[in-house]
């Protein structure tokens, strides 16, 4: 801001002062234009206008249309639209735990100082050393076969301790850290005393299993690996929506698009760490898209195409993990893209009423008012793992699995317990018995719900677009954001016209935004276009 600018403002103020009425009209025009400019700048760019922009309004008595166009095309608008999407989808999964303690490294500092990084899980320490101990502060020793040599603890004969090794961690290539030798083991598999082969990459049990090559199966909270991954999940979803608006693609791609971007941390997690979630976060590299071989430290984004199970943001980690249940996923879809919410008007009978024992929520009293609509909608995510991240394609997860129909399958097979309806889930054999062995989404599913499961999130998204509800809701939400209020009943026609134009213009969001801020309700603000 220069002194010349003040000079300009002062000079401008000296120019006009002819007849009183003219002065008044001109002053009013300038005041209203300045007010409009301020609204535009704050709503479209998230900041106040510059002094130079305001001075141009004083000079011209009106806003130069090029200023509005520049705002609509600016990167600042993308930032504002991102804020809009954050408010719609609550995109923040930074509170997620990606793994249990068995794959969680502790640093050699903090409350319990240790000579090197070690795995937090008590089970690991018991298996490695026979008790709650960490390694010794000395380099590890190995025998001729490469087996780790240990030193008995002088105070506790049950405990034996090893030394540490230097490892180049995946999160900081080119550097090394000290890691307790047992915890740093790199074997892919290990055979226990009973002859069972254990997959070290997904199972936290086994004295011969560690964190793998470059510690690739483990998280280090101290080094922020989990936060880096969850931040990438947030960013992936938001940058996808940013790009659609920035590149003027049809806004429908938000829920229909098949492309996506992936960065190093996210690709690395999917390829090497997603299977370590266990019961904390059931996940796997099965994502119905290729997972590129990327270094964790590579922060660049790579564009890829996804398979049939995907639908815009609705199948991205930032959505699926934020809304962990299929009902939650459907509910957020309704709120964000249909401007509808589930609400039951049905009275709830007393708790003593037997109708509460009905296991099917679409029939249970007090519940069916919502669940008649919720369950078919939720079914669209039926082939995505709940509280986790797995694309459960039919070839890997058939609707019925004989193995999971066996008595006790839920106890014996983790996949049955997590994803299938087993005998231990049955509370009413008469109504539920026929579903034992079925993928959970198919329980109580009629033909409509079964069709929805197979259609996936793309099915519900396509219906929303084809019905026009998606366009109408997008208009309502943008109107509400820019006008600071919801449209009134009297404005239904205006909303319908905007939605129709939005659709006819190829669902260009920037064009919609410009249409709204040029309406008299916005331009004249409190006067409401009168």
């Amino acid at each position: 801001m220069s002194k010349h600018t003040l000079t300009l403002v002062v000079a401008l103020s000296l120019v006009a002062s002819p007849a009183a009425a003219e002065v008044c009209d001109e002053a009013t025009a300038i005041a209203e234009s300045l007010s409009y400019l301020r609204r535009l700048s704050l709503d479209l760019r998230g900041r106040v206008p510059t002094l130079e922009e305001q001075a141009s309004v004083v000079t011209n008595g009106a806003i130069d249309p090029s200023i509005v166009e520049a705002m609509v095309e600016s990167e600042d608008l993308i930032h504002q639209v991102r804020r809009h999407h954050l408010d719609m989808l609550w995109t923040n999964v930074n509170d997620l735990r990606l793994t249990n303690q068995a794959f969680q490294l502790s640093p050699p500092q903090g409350r319990n100082p240790a000579p090197a990084y070690f795995l937090q899980a008590q089970l690991r320490r018991n298996q490695y050393r026979g008790g709650p101990a960490v390694c010794l502060d000395e380099p590890a020793r190995f025998d001729r076969d490469g087996a780790i040599l240990t030193t008995p603890d002088p105070q506790n004969a049950n405990i034996r301790r090893e030394g540490w090794v230097e490892v180049e961690p995946y999160w900081a290539p080119g550097t090394t850290i000290r890691v307790c030798a047992f915890d740093a083991q790199t074997a892919e598999t290990w055979t226990d005393d009973r002859g069972n082969e254990i997959d070290c990459a997904s199972n936290g049990r086994g004295a011969g299993c560690g964190c793998g090559p470059n510690l690739r199966w483990c998280q280090s909270g101290f080094d922020g690996t989990t936060r880096t991954i969850t931040t990438s999940m947030n960013e992936q979803l938001l940058r996808y929506m940013d790009a659609i608006v920035r590149e003027d693609r049809p806004y429908t791609d938000v829920v229909l698009g098949k492309d996506f971007e992936i960065d190093g941390p996210l690709a690395f997690w999917l390829a090497h760490q997603s299977q370590t979630g266990g019961n904390v976060l059931p996940a796997a590299p099965l994502q119905d898209h290729a997972i590129p071989d990327r270094a964790f430290s590579d922060a660049t984004w790579q564009t890829l195409e996804r398979g049939d199970q995907h639908a815009g943001v609705l199948s991205m980690p930032g959505y699926l993990l934020k809304f962990g249940s299929n009902r939650g996923r459907a509910n957020r879809f309704y709120e964000a893209f249909l401007c509808q919410h589930f609400e039951s008007n049905e009275p709830i009978p007393p708790a003593t009423d037997d109708c509460h024992k009905e296991p099917d929520l679409t029939k249970r009293c007090g519940c069916k008012g919502c669940h008649l609509a919720v369950e078919p909608a939720a079914a669209h995510w039926g082939r995505w793992a709940e509280a986790g991240l797995i694309a459960m394609t039919d070839d890997r997860f058939p609707a019925y699995l004989e193995q999971c129909a066996q008595p006790g399958a839920g106890r014996r097979f983790p996949a049955c317990r997590l994803f299938y309806f087993t005998d231990s889930d049955v509370t009413d054999p008469e109504s539920e018995g026929e579903y034992v062995g079925m993928l959970r989404a198919y329980v109580f599913a009629d033909d409509t719900r079964a069709a929805n499961i197979e259609a996936g999130p793309l099915g519900i998204a396509s219906s929303a677009v084809e019905s026009g509800v998606f366009a109408s809701c997008t208009v309502q939400k943008m109107w509400t954001r820019l006008m600071s209020r919801e449209p009134s009943a009297a404005e239904a026609e205006a909303i319908a016209t905007l939605a129709s134009d939005f659709e006819a213009n190829g669902y260009r969001l920037k064009s919609l935004i410009q249409s709204i801020v040029e309406r008299p309700e916005y331009v004249e603000a409190a006067r409401g276009g009168e």
């Binding site: 801001m1 220069s2 002194k3 600018t5 003040l6 403002v9 002062v10 103020s13 000296l14 006009a16 002062s17 002053a27 300038i30 005041a31 300045l34 007010s35 400019l37 301020r38 609204r39 704050l42 760019r45 998230g46 900041r47 106040v48 206008p49 510059t50 002094l51 305001q54 001075a55 004083v58 804020r83 954050l86 408010d87 609550w90 995109t91 923040n92 930074n94 509170d95 820019l482 006008m483 600071s484 209020r485 009134s488 009297a490 404005e491 008299p520 309700e521 916005y522 004249e524 603000a525 409190a526 006067r527 409401g528 276009g529």
Partner: protein
């Protein structure tokens, strides 16, 4: 000039800027304390005039006025003050007050809070006074240290008080005051004169800056 030098006279200004004779009803019964109508005193509520907290569409069918969001403030302050922003000290060292106090100021994090609290609450007002004090202090200091001919942030021309107030009114509030009018700068001029009568001019500009950054004309749009 350090912050303490600027802050101490401000308190004096806050007292001096108001009517020296408080109206009836603002003095406690025992006469031990004189109250002045500032942001926090309960005195003279009628001075604020009537306000509709939540106007209904029936009353106004245009766009509703709203308070600036934390993010808008976060992005606007550096634009207005050549990169200067609200700085607070925390365990992690100096950082933006808008970031360090984001949740306290009502900004959603989408984990604990999924919607923004944009009410002009007393808590928000308190922190905005802190923000204004910090930003104005930095801005005035930058002006005092600027070489002749360099851009100024607040004190555009100490010799032309009304001209500078017009400049600030446009810059901070988006309100244009022609040179043949003092409508809209009278109160600010009175404030400036009050403080300048007992303090150095930079202190008066500091006071004007705080008054303008905490004014509804700045915070609402």
């Amino acid at each position: 000039m350090n912050r303490r030098i600027l802050m101490t006279p401000l308190f004096v200004f806050a007292v001096a800027a108001c009517d020296a004779t408080p109206p009836a009803g603002t003095v406690p019964p025992d006469g031990s304390e004189t109250l002045y109508p500032d942001s926090w005193a309960h005195a003279m509520p009628e001075d604020r005039g009537e306000a509709t907290i939540t106007p209904t569409p029936a009353e106004a069918e245009g766009r509703f006025a709203r308070r600036m969001s934390v993010d808008q403030l976060r992005r606007s302050i550096p634009v207005l003050f050549d990169g200067i922003t609200w700085t607070v000290n925390s365990r992690n060292g100096a950082q933006s007050g808008f970031d360090a106090l984001s949740r306290t100021l009502g900004e959603a994090d989408y984990i604990q809070a999924t919607s923004h609290n944009e009410e002009p609450s007393p808590l928000f007002a308190k922190f905005m006074e802190d923000m204004a004090a910090d930003v104005c202090n930095q801005a005035v200091r930058a002006d005092l240290e600027a070489a002749p001919g360099d851009p100024r942030l607040i004190i555009m021309d100490d010799a032309d008080v009304d001209g500078t107030l017009r400049f600030l009114r446009l810059k901070l509030h988006g309100l244009y005051v022609p040179s043949d009018s003092t409508d809209g700068i009278d109160d600010l001029r009175a404030l400036y004169d009050d403080v300048a009568s007992t303090q150095e001019p930079p202190v008066a500009w500091f006071a004007v800056c705080i008054a303008m950054l905490t004014a509804p004309e700045f915070m609402a749009y």
